[in-house]
């Protein structure tokens, strides 16, 4: 009983929302936002997709399993910490790229860490929602 109206609306809404969540993630450093909220918004969007098109479709669209997403997120977060250790600095010290990139602004290991948080949050929320709504 998938409602046609909802699925068409979702087809337009989803990209917008994902964009918004990435936008929130990237400018988290200077304005309200960050990995956690971005992750929540993104997972809300994907939850909407799973409501509109069903969990199987959502899993296919996502291509990788949410639990793998958790793993990747954690790896990125820890990886960003190890980078500074490679430079001989203590674990998780912030390293920054000098040049300011056009779109992303200042890029550095904390941002990478934030991306890790972003992915973990999405993975966590989706794992639970998909597991719950699967019949």
């Amino acid at each position: 009983m998938i409602s046609l109206i909802l699925s068409t609306a979702t087809r337009y809404l989803l990209p917008l929302l994902l964009l918004f969540s990435v936008f929130v993630l990237l400018r988290g450093h200077n304005e309200p936002g960050g990995g956690f909220v971005g992750g929540l918004v993104a997972s809300a969007a994907l939850a909407l997709y799973s409501i509109a098109y069903g969990v199987a479709a959502a899993r296919r669209m996502l291509r990788i399993d949410p639990r793998a997403l958790i793993g990747v997120g954690l790896l990125i977060a820890i990886g960003s910490g190890l980078l500074s250790m490679a430079r001989g600095l203590p674990f998780l010290t912030g390293l920054w790229v000098e040049r300011e990139l056009p779109l992303l602004g200042k890029v550095g290991t904390p941002l990478l860490f934030d991306v890790g948080v972003f992915l973990v949050v999405i993975g966590v929320v989706l794992t639970i929602i998909f597991a719950l709504s699967e019949e």
Partner: protein, 768 residues
Amino acid sequence: MSLILALVLTFVLAAMAPRLHGLLREASGWVLALWPLAWTIYLGGLTGRITQGDPLYIRYPWMPQLGVSLSFYVDGLGLLFGLLISGIGALVLIYSGGYLKKHRHLGRFYLFILSFMGSMLGLVLTGNLIALFVFWELTSLSSYFLIGFEHEREEARQAALQALLVTGIGGLALLAGLLLLGEAGGTLELTVLLERGEALRASPYYLPALILILVGAFTKSAQVPFHFWLPNAMEAPTPVSAYLHSATMVKAGVYLLARLSPALGGTAAWQIGVTGGGLATMVLGAIMALGPSDLKRILAYSTVSTLGALTFLLGLGTPLAVKAAMTLLLAHALYKGALFLVAGAVDHETGTRDVWKLGGLGPSMPITATAAGMAALSMAGLPPSLGFISKELLYEAQLHALHLPALLAGAGVLASALLVAVAGVVGLRPFFGHPVHRTGHLHDPPPSLWLGPLLLGGAGIALAIAPDMAASPLTTAAVSAVLGKPTVVELRLWHGLNPSLALSALTVLAGAGLYAAQPFLLDIAARARLKEWAARWGPQRGYERMLQGLNALATTQTRLLQSGFLRFYLMIIILTTIALVGSTIAIREPLSRWMGRIVDARPYELMIVVLMGLATLMAVLTSSRLAAVAALGIVGYGVALLYMLFGAPDLAMTQFAVETLTVILLVLVVYRLPRFTRLSGRPARLRDAALALAAGGMMTALMLMVLSAPLKSRLAPFFAANSLTLAKGRNVVNVILVDFRALDTLGEITVLAVAAIGVYALLKLRME
């Protein structure tokens, strides 16, 4: 450097023992014995230097912040014990090679024995309290494995557990005592601590530390009332009984008392506790030794008695007493080790250890008989054995004791007489008594089984005949270590005619009498039903009742708390929180102080708060679950709005997002939940309401308390200042999350990950 290497190698060798046994098969006992032999030679080499009063002191930092270092301090006392442990260890390894030849787990046995030897050597050679405690516990652990070696048998497992529990609890007390001692003395290093005797005795911690250490020593050295685990430990294979439960491990408590006597000795408490405990154990142990018919249990009780004598002598603390103690220690280790090994040999050949069923084995087992004879001579304290010299010194010490020497000497004679009788029972009856056993095909056991007892028995005699050669220097070094000042010890076989000689003669006569009268004595004991009385009131019964009580407590507590109902767990958690936090608030904070802070709120803020209150009420009163979910949604949105109104946009966004996802999750969960089967009754609801109100009230009080507390935290300015410069971000909240306190966030997302996997597992589990 070499000492710590040798110790580590002992443990490495222990780890490799099973494989080595696989390769060497028959000769594994002999080959492995080479390592303790090397230890003996190494320690022997040190004697020259140590007897001149120059102890070896090596120190490695282990936990510098806690002042714990793995240091080694080898003085006379440590040396005497070290030689005993490694010497007897070598003989025991050879012996167990033969005794357990066919046993399929012999490799594992070597592992345990060698790791025990390593930990025992560590215990006697270390110079740091904490390292001493670690080795102490290691010995208890390896003894647990050794006693329970034949784990198929129920009695062995129970005996092992009993030994572990008793010595374990003692170990715990010891740790507390040692820490108190370290606190009072200001250091955990033994060498420094021993010089601060005065300060220790004067400090308020002295008495508790002493009591705790005594509990540790008394449980380990099987003093009354903690002695019952030792006879039960006879379930272990005989080499273990010979090595651990007579020569070395049970002496750890005695070693500890000797080691700490310069620091703790001399006070009234020490006198009463140690001397009294020792005296009682000496006499009771000897009396109980006459009872059993099993050879090993008799020896175990007599060991308890000798341990009592050693503790008693250390309690006296006079130079004479310490001299007697050190000699008795040496003599006892030799003859008791020999007798245990003989008992093993007899058991190995005849298949029984019942004293009444053995007799007239002498002719068919000549070598074992001679070894047993020599050892029994030393045990009975007859010249020319080391036992005789130590008994003479014991009597001298008792006669010259400061107060009530007559009583002490009397107890000494009684105990020694009983030991003479026991020596007769153990050493003479099986070999020279009228032949009971069919002697046909009996013969001496293989060399590995008679070498040990022969050497040990022989040493008991040889050291007495020529004391200056080895016995005197060793005891001199040991005594001066215990007394804390250099004293020279001249052991003489013949002290000339003096009262102690008379006492010795009296003891031997009394002993012979007791030996002859033993059957008669046993009848009296049987008629007086001594055994049942002891079984009902003895410490063993106390131990069992304690265990049963513990189990009962555990079951009731589990049944009470783990009722299986989720809401029951919730209730307990909330109740405890309220009790703890509530009481602290009530005590700490006068209620009046922070009541008047709620007035300056704007109309729409108030409206939101009122709405939240109503929504909560609705969530509580509604019977439809989804209405409750919606109401909770309102509360969540209200909180988020308040965050925003009070200038926390980050928080507001997160709260909105979390709130909505919670609603979605709750909707999904409610969809799966079965209909309400039955709603809780009125009393239950009232109880829950009261609980909820209490919890809410507590939280409000907490919040108001936090509000009124002056927040002079220096964190906020630090983060505000450095957020842009260091972390290149103006949004302080996210900068903290991702940069300054990234480690916390890392922890949080890991927790999230684990939670998700947990939920996933639970759901998938239910699916199948």
